[in-house]
Structure formats: structure tokens, C-alpha cells
């Protein structure tokens, strides 16, 4: 009897329960894996990308994706490409013709341009390539200046991916103290904070982002990334702090807060040690769900020319080259960076959705009704 009681008593922690529910959510796990994959891709960008993101292949401006062939004379062979040559068609438009005399097989770990891996060491080894200058391999084609789009996407991913976490941290730094103070103290502090929140929330996001992005135009462009992060968090802390305030309002009346007060805990201790931990599962969920909006936001700003600027690059900036009908119809491969945005944002959304279900103690994920 006593043993049985002991067994029952040993319950799982809140996080273990969340993790157990998350494991049932297949789509969420797929999302998590994709996010991880894209992060790895971007982290090893130097090594994976066949070329440096700023190197211009002048003879290959606006070249379409290099065609990779698998079959030679009816037999399956190692993937290879042909050399392409620029020419003109009867309308004097640039066309690239394949020169089928020699095959250039795609090799792994080929020697190419020198790069420095996060400042740790320098190397010439790239993951794949043809290994010859004659027949470059442009997986996704090139842009106006003959820069390899695939390499640029990997490089640009660095900014597109890190804007989310950075914006999240600054937003939390603003929103948590304001939400806690507003909810815990009430009275005129709460009134003031709520009025400010209301006014900021009265504006639609994008027009306000754009107006604020105009302000940072004059500031040094090396730190532009951080200014954009600032613009995002300056507008977006409001909804987070408002929800947090609501949670604090109800937590303030809970028995555990009373108990903490009764034993003589100070206000900061109650706020940060007793109330805040009770909102963490909510914060984790909101965090994951708000990252996509920042990824899209950065892409939109850069697309309009108010975000990241050359020589830095991001997925939105890459897409800005496709901002006219002629470019879209003649060089449709310039739209490829958009696919990376969609896949990444989709993965974050799956992940956030799964976390929301997992963090909700009343959810019935995976259970059939």
C-alpha cells in the first residue's frame, strides 16, 4: 500500500509534460527539424556555398540555374554539367548555350575560393562544385552582376534568421518589466501604461514600421540590423506586455502570492520569482509564434529598400531584384529566395502551433475524440 502511494506521488514536472505532449505533435517536430536544418545551412554557409556571396562572375550575368544532368548516353552517371556560353538570340537578348563537348562532373569537397570560417580558420574546401573555373555551377542561377544566387541565399539567411531571435530578446526586455509593473501595481501606473499601449496599437504595424525605418536611414549602416531590431521591438512590445499584464492581474490574487507576501517576500522577489515563472510557458509559445512576423517584416522592409542594404544581404533584399514585370518574366529564378522565406516561416509556425498545444494543459493533441 505504502509503495503504491509512493509510486503515484512521483509526478512529472510541467516541462516534462509539455515535452511529452510535444512529442505527439508530428507536424511540430517536422517544423522543428526544418528550422534546425535551415539554421545549420546558414551556419555552414561559407562551406556549403560554392562561391563567395559578393564575387561577381561578369561573364555569367543573369545566367539561369545550371542544368545538372544525370544521364549520359543512356546510362546513369555521376551528376555533371556542361560549360555554358553567352550568346544572343534574334532579338538580341542574352541567352546561354551549353557547350556539349566536355563533361564537368560535380565533385564533393572541391577546392575553390578562400574563405574564413567564423574567423576560426581559413580554408579553400567547399562542399560541392565542379572544381573548374570553366564551368561554374550556379544551382539557382545568378543575379544582374553575375553573383551566385544560391551562395547569396545562404549568406542572406544569416540576417533573415537572426532578426527573429534578436527582435524577440529586445521585445521581451521591454515587455516583461512593463507588463509586470503595470499588472502588479495597478492604479495610475497601470492607467498610464495602458494608454501608451493603446496609442501604439492604434496604428497598423507596417505603416508605422516604415515611418520608423525612415528615421534610421541617417544612422550608420553597419549597425542597420540592430536599428531594424529596435524598430520592431519598439512597436511590438505592446501586445505582449498587455497579455502579460492580464496574467499578472490574476496571479496577484492567487494564494501563492498571498503566501509569499505573508512570509515577507519583497515586491521584486514576488514579481520575478513567483509570478513571472508562472507565465513562462505562455512566453515560450508567444515567442515562437511571433518570430515569423519579424522574418516577414524584415523581408518586407528590405524589399522596399528601407531594411538591410548592399553589400549586406538578406532574403528580402534578394527579392527586391525581382520587383518588376520584366525581371520576373525573364529571370524567374530571382523569385527563389521567397521559397526560403516561406519554408522557414512555415516551419516556425508549425513549431509554434505545436508548442502552444503542448503548453496548454487542457489540450488533447493527438487524442481522437
Amino acid at each position: 500500500m505504502a509503495e503504491h502511494y509512493k509510486k503515484e506521488k512521483k509526478s512529472k514536472s510541467q516541462w516534462a509534460l509539455i515535452w511529452r505532449r510535444f512529442k505527439r505533435h508530428k507536424l511540430g517536430q517536422v517544423g522543428g527539424l526544418i528550422v534546425l536544418f535551415v539554421f545549420l545551412l546558414v551556419f555552414f554557409a561559407n562551406f556549403i556555398a560554392p562561391y563567395n556571396y559578393s564575387v561577381q562572375h561578369r561573364d555569367y550575368a543573369k545566367a539561369p540555374p545550371t542544368r545538372i544532368r544525370f544521364i549520359h548516353e543512356g546510362r546513369l552517371v555521376r551528376p555533371y554539367v556542361y560549360r555554358t556560353e553567352r550568346g544572343f538570340n534574334e532579338y538580341y537578348e542574352t541567352v546561354y548555350k551549353e557547350d556539349k563537348t566536355e563533361r564537368y562532373p560535380i565533385k564533393f569537397f572541391v577546392k575553390g575560393e578562400k574563405y574564413s570560417f567564423w574567423g576560426l580558420f581559413t580554408s579553400r574546401i567547399h562542399l560541392f562544385g565542379t572544381g573548374s573555373e570553366e564551368a561554374p555551377l550556379f544551382l539557382f542561377g545568378t543575379d544582374t552582376f553575375g553573383r551566385d544566387l544560391f551562395s547569396r541565399i545562404l549568406w542572406g539567411g544569416w540576417i533573415s534568421l537572426s532578426i527573429g531571435p534578436f527582435a524577440l530578446i529586445t521585445t521581451l526586455i521591454i515587455a516583461i518589466p512593463i507588463g509586470l509593473i503595470s499588472g502588479y501595481f495597478g492604479s495610475w501606473v497601470d492607467m498610464l501604461v495602458q494608454r501608451i499601449t493603446e496609442v501604439i496599437m492604434a496604428f497598423p504595424k507596417l505603416p508605422l514600421w516604415l515611418a520608423l525605418a525612415m528615421i534610421i536611414q541617417g544612422l550608420p549602416s553597419a549597425y542597420r540590423f540592430f536599428f531594424i531590431v529596435g524598430v520592431f521591438s519598439l512597436v511590438d512590445w505592446t501586445s505582449l506586455s498587455r497579455t502579460l499584464r492580464g496574467m499578472v492581474l490574476s496571479a496577484r490574487e492567487e494564494d501563492y502570492t498571498m503566501a509569499a507576501k505573508a512570509v515577507g517576500a519583497g515586491t521584486p522577489r514576488i514579481m520575478f520569482r513567483h509570478i513571472l515563472p508562472n507565465t513562462t510557458s505562455y512566453l515560450v509559445v508567444v515567442s515562437t509564434l511571433s518570430i515569423p512576423s519579424w522574418i516577414i517584416g524584415e523581408a518586407t522592409l528590405s524589399f522596399l529598400g528601407l531594411g538591410i542594404k548592399e553589400p549586406q544581404t538578406s532574403w528580402g533584399l534578394l527579392l527586391s531584384q525581382a520587383n518588376n514585370l520584366q525581371a520576373i518574366t525573364s529571370y524567374p529564378w530571382l523569385l527563389i529566395p521567397g521559397i526560403f522565406i516561406i519554408v522557414t516561416v512555415l516551419a516556425f509556425n508549425f513549431l509554434g502551433d505545436a508548442l502552444r498545444d503542448a503548453a496548454d494543459p487542457f489540450s488533447t493533441v493527438g487524442k481522437k475524440r
Binding site: 494608454r195 496604428f203 515611418a211 515569423p292 523581408a299 528580402g316 524567374p332 523569385l335 516561416v345
Partner: protein, 323 residues
């Protein structure tokens, strides 16, 4: 509401002042324009006065004369630059987009809930997630590509803007007969806009609708109705739907936000003359009074959106009272 609006106008004005330089900065850098001319222009435009006086003059003009200010770059009143020939299209397109969003997403949400965990339900979930994840401007670009390269309509119907040239000056009605050519041309030009802006909020509405339906389908009153032998369609549409729809109506206010934001970027890509697009042009030229009015206008639109949602809610749910 009124204090909020006053603060909104102050913030709009403040942001404008924080943007480095002003409308004349470009002329100052131009060596062919003499300093005297610039001083003269500064005085004419009132840019030499202190900030609070400029703000006060602007507000005073709105209330006493209905004068929203003066556009420096267009040499015309702000009203003409921002609203003339644009406000109508903006509101009309906004309403079409809103209609498109709800007309599709509510039935899809109901279908998805009544077919829970069926393959079609998963498909709908996946599709709405994808809709949520596509940036507006990218969808607009893809639709442009689709129209130009796949449908190949560029030559005869035209892409971008609102009409093909031949229909621009044509009247909507010939006497009492509607001009079908113009109407078709118009709808052919605006559908990518409606789709690009509409899908952004569609995903959210579908998911909310599905969740709400599922929640109320399991309530006791639904079971009771079914047990009494009420037809399933009646249970769904009369008992469950009327209860489940409330948060979606509240969400109308939120949809207004998404539409204003989405419309800004989509109108830029597709070249559609909306108020949002005029705002963007003004932003690039630092046309300060146009920007101020634009920002305030968007905030007012959202306030009206929320008000509209409240009215709809009270109309649908007799339990709700606003005293």
C-alpha cells in the same frame, strides 16, 4: 477614443520630426539652387517655425477649415494627394478583400471542423498554414509572374494598375447600362490584389473558425439537440454556428489591421492607386503633412474597424450590451 486620436496625431507628427532632414534637404545639397531661394521656400512652407506652432497650425487647419495641410512635393492640398480618386478604391477594395476572406474562410473552417482528422481537414490546415507563411509582397510577385508568364495576358489585358489605358477615362455607366468592358477590366486587374491581401488573414480565420466549431460541437446543448432528433445541418448552423462565430466577429477589427498593412505592400508591387500607396510615395519624399495625415488616417480606419466589429457582435449575440 478622442484622447487616443489626439495622441495618435501627436505621435504621427513626432515621428515625422524625428526623420532626419526635411523636404528641402535635397534642394540644399543642390548647388544650382541659391540659399536665398531655399530661405524663401522655407518661409513659404512654414518650415522655419518652431515645432509646436507647426503642429498647432496643422490641427487648427483641420478643425476650422477642414484643411488637412499642404503637400510640399505636389504643390497641392494633402486632401487631393492622399484621398482624391484613391479613398473610394481603397475602401471598395478593402471591403471586397474582407468579403473574400470571410466568404471563403468561414465555410472552409466549418467544413474542416465537421470533417475533423479527415485527409481534407489536414489539407485545409496545411493550406492555411502556407497562406499564413507567404509574405504578401511575394504572393503578389508570384501572381504577377503567373499572369504574365503562364496566362500571358500582359499584351491584351494589361498588368498592374487598375485599368488598361483605353478604359481609364471610360465611364462606368453608359446611361443606365453598365460598361461591362470596364468592369471586367477592373476585376481582372484587382483580383491578384484581393487574393494577395486576403490570404494573409484567411488562414487565421479558418483556424479560429475550426477551433470554435469543434469546441461548441462538444457542448451539451449540441448533444441535446442531436438527441432530440434535430437534423444535423440544423444543429451545425443554428445551434453551434451562432455561438461559435463570436470571436470571428471580434476578429474583424484585427482583419482591418492586416488589410491595411497588406494593402500597403501589395499596392506598391501591383501599382494600385490606394491611399496606402500615396503614403509610401510621400514617405520617400519626406512630404511631412501627407505622412502625418496618412498615419492618423490609418489609425482612424482601425478604430472604425473595431467599432464595426462591436456593432456586428451586438447584432449577432443578444446577450452583449454596451451600456
Amino acid at each position: 477614443m478622442i484622447p487616443t486620436l489626439i495622441l495618435v496625431s501627436i505621435i504621427s507628427f513626432g515621428i515625422m520630426q524625428l526623420i532626419p532632414g526635411d523636404y528641402l534637404t535635397k534642394s540644399q545639397l543642390d548647388p544650382t539652387i541659391s540659399r536665398k531661394t531655399i530661405e524663401q521656400q522655407k518661409e513659404n512652407l512654414g518650415l522655419d517655425r518652431p515645432i509646436h506652432i507647426r503642429y498647432w497650425k496643422w490641427v487648427e487647419g483641420i478643425f476650422t477649415r477642414g484643411d488637412f495641410g499642404y503637400s510640399f512635393s505636389h504643390y497641392r492640398p494633402v486632401k487631393n494627394v492622399l484621398f482624391k480618386g484613391r479613398l473610394g478604391y481603397t475602401v471598395f477594395l478593402g471591403l471586397i478583400t474582407l468579403g473574400f476572406t470571410y466568404l471563403f474562410s468561414i465555410p472552409i473552417g466549418i467544413y474542416s471542423a465537421t470533417h475533423q482528422y479527415a485527409p481534407s481537414d489536414h489539407l485545409v490546415t496545411l493550406a492555411s498554414f502556407i497562406g499564413l507563411s507567404i509574405p504578401n509582397f511575394f504572393l503578389a510577385l508570384v501572381l504577377l509572374f503567373f499572369m504574365a508568364a503562364v496566362l500571358n495576358v500582359g499584351a491584351n489585358l494589361g498588368i498592374g494598375g487598375l485599368f488598361t489605358e483605353q478604359y481609364m477615362a471610360a465611364p462606368w455607366f453608359n446611361g443606365f447600362v453598365p460598361n461591362m468592358g470596364k468592369i471586367t477590366n477592373f476585376f481582372w486587374h484587382v483580383w491578384p490584389y484581393v487574393v494577395a491581401v486576403g490570404t494573409a488573414s484567411m488562414a487565421g480565420v479558418v483556424r479560429l473558425m475550426r477551433g470554435q466549431m469543434l469546441e461548441y460541437m462538444n457542448r451539451q446543448f449540441a448533444t441535446t439537440a442531436e438527441a432530440k432528433g434535430v437534423k444535423e445541418s440544423v444543429v451545425i448552423y443554428k445551434h453551434v454556428f451562432r455561438n461559435a462565430i463570436n470571436p470571428i466577429i471580434t476578429g474583424l477589427g484585427y482583419s482591418f489591421r492586416t488589410i491595411v498593412s497588406g494593402s500597403l505592400i501589395t499596392a506598391i508591387v501591383l501599382g494600385i492607386p490606394t491611399v496606402e500607396r500615396a503614403y509610401w510615395t510621400a514617405l520617400n519624399k519626406q512630404d511631412e503633412q501627407v505622412i502625418m495625415v496618412g498615419l492618423t488616417f490609418f489609425a482612424i480606419m482601425l478604430l472604425f474597424g473595431n467599432l464595426f466589429a462591436d456593432f456586428m457582435l451586438a447584432w449577432n449575440d443578444p446577450r452583449i450590451r454596451y451600456d
